[in-house]
């Protein structure tokens, strides 16, 4: 019990530090933009913000105060989850995020699950000692490293939508419309996870305990289920935190390619219009979600591997 509480405390503390660092970086970033900070927040230097909007911004962010005061006000607002109002959308940032978040979360989570399933299948298949297996293994590596989301999405649209007409190219709210975007997100990640799983599967299969299991009469399938799976999952599990954030990252591109509404689209337009409050909100959310996913995966890891063995 104590151990768990201590671990929780450490994770929480770590998360707060990370969030604080990100917030500080944003604060400094705003100040580094040449010109009037109020303008910077409201669309960048030379923005067309009205005088009232600029005045409102100055009041909200306390820009007339000395620098330390501004910093404290900034942090204070964030702690109260007050991210301010989006300049370009005229709505509170929190509201906008709340609207677009579900769509992206669905995309990311489905992508994660699909990537895992594909990776396990590819890893198991690629270990068979035949030409197909080797070919698969090499291809998977290339896909992971060299195929960008925007191209993969375009090609999938070309093939499945334009040529075959099976699936819609643009999101129309249906489940079918979800398939291509999720696949686009999942494939490169699956390629990466496959390599990891392959390595640990291969080393598990050639280990002494695998030999011992076979000497007890285990079949190949049983070997995979009882032994291989756990060992394959472990390194992939510890990278799930990173995987999730890379999915969020990929969502930006995928949502652009498939014209889906979501956090990625919102971030893109925020960046294009230099809408700092929006950018701040999304950045902090991204960092926070990473920490949450890390904590959850660590908990799962401890369940599978309480002794902390390096598998």
């Amino acid at each position: 019990m104590m151990g768990t509480l201590r671990w929780l405390g450490r994770r929480l503390g770590g998360a707060l530090v990370v969030l604080w660092l990100v917030a500080t970086a944003i604060f400094l970033g705003i100040r580094l933009i040449p010109g009037d900070p109020a303008e910077a927040i409201m669309g960048g230097p030379g923005s067309q913000a009205s005088a009232e909007a600029l005045a409102a911004a100055r009041a909200e962010y306390g820009l007339d105060l000395p620098l330390p005061g501004q910093y404290l006000m900034f942090l204070g607002k964030l702690v109260r989850l007050d991210f301010g109002t989006s300049y370009s959308l005229k709505d509170p940032v929190l509201t906008v995020m709340g609207e677009v978040l579900p769509s992206t979360l669905v995309l990311a989570l489905l992508g994660l699950v699909l990537a895992w399933v594909l990776a396990l299948v590819f890893a198991a298949l690629s270990l068979r000692a035949n030409r197909f297996g080797e070919l698969l293994g090499n291809m998977v590596e290339i896909v992971a490293a060299a195929v960008p989301h925007f191209w993969l999405g375009a090609v999938l649209i070309m093939v499945f939508s334009t040529m075959l007409g099976w699936l819609p190219a643009v999101d129309n709210g249906s489940a079918a419309g979800l398939l291509l975007p999720v696949l686009t997100l999942a494939l490169p990640l699956a390629g990466f996870l496959t390599q990891l799983m392959r390595d640990s599967l291969a080393s598990a299969f050639s280990s002494q305990f695998a030999l011992a299991a076979r000497a007890r009469g285990a079949s190949r399938l049983q070997l995979f289920w009882r032994h291989g799976l756990r060992h394959a999952a472990l390194p992939a599990l510890s990278l799930t935190g990173w995987a999730f954030s890379s999915l969020l990252s990929g969502a930006v591109v995928v949502e652009a390619v498939f014209a889906r509404p979501g956090l990625g689209r919102a971030l893109l337009s925020a960046v294009l219009s230099r809408d700092i409050p929006m950018v701040t909100g999304i950045a902090l959310f991204s960092a926070a979600s990473y920490m949450v996913v890390m904590a959850v995966t660590e908990a799962v890891e401890r369940l599978i591997n309480p002794a902390g063995v390096r598998a």
């Binding site: 490293a145 060299a146 191209w151 090609v155 070309m158 930006v252 591109v253 294009l272």
Partner: protein
Amino acid sequence: MSRLAKLGTGVFLVLLVVLALFPQWLAPGDPLAVNPAEAFQAPNLHHVMGTDESGRDVLTRIVHGARDSLFIGVAATALGMGIAVLLGTAAALSPRWLDEAILRVLEALYAIPSLLMALLIIAFTGPGVGPAIVAVGLSTAPGYARLVRSQIRTLKASEMLEAATVLGRGTLAKVRNHLLPNALRPLLALITLGVGQAVIWASALSFLGLGTPPPAPEWGAMLAAGRTYLHLAWWLSFFPGLAIVVVAAGATMIGRALGGKVNAA
């Protein structure tokens, strides 16, 4: 890696460099020359990769675009690797408290994925080639820094260095004769892999409209433009993307051959 594969990638590298520096040898046309009469031609004998909405030959644009894409990729990798090597080496060789501090900072940076960080940076700097380089470079640095740090730490604790100590070698000699040279080779692999990744990220930024401005023939930008005509003219998106994949795949294979591993960057 088989001999044939090694030969293949070597040739590929040379070809790439030649293309980037002297595009006119392979594609003598003007990538920016507009010719509305020839717009939207599918791939044929005249235009092996078709023409775009302004009648420009796609192949010519791709060949000329190599320079833009590669330039951003290489520059960003140089920046990112430079920072990564500095931070990673500092962390690996410094006293525990400094190492911990640097690690915390790296972890914070790691919490924001590459593309998001690049976007954040561009939110502050505005779009363009320069910001794209900075954005991609800074966003890939933390991942590589962690790798560099762990490589150097492993070397530092190695029996090889211990044996050198027992033989009476001084710190400077150990670093110069053993630590640095052995750290260099994996670094080379990492840099090669990094260029491949950087080209992809840079094109992604251009695809989103945040990198090289039109009408420059940068591959990502071409793909973005082509997306609108995906149903009409698939070749406008297919070939530029293919070029990216080929470059990135080639870089990955070379990196792998040098002993690197594609990693979470």
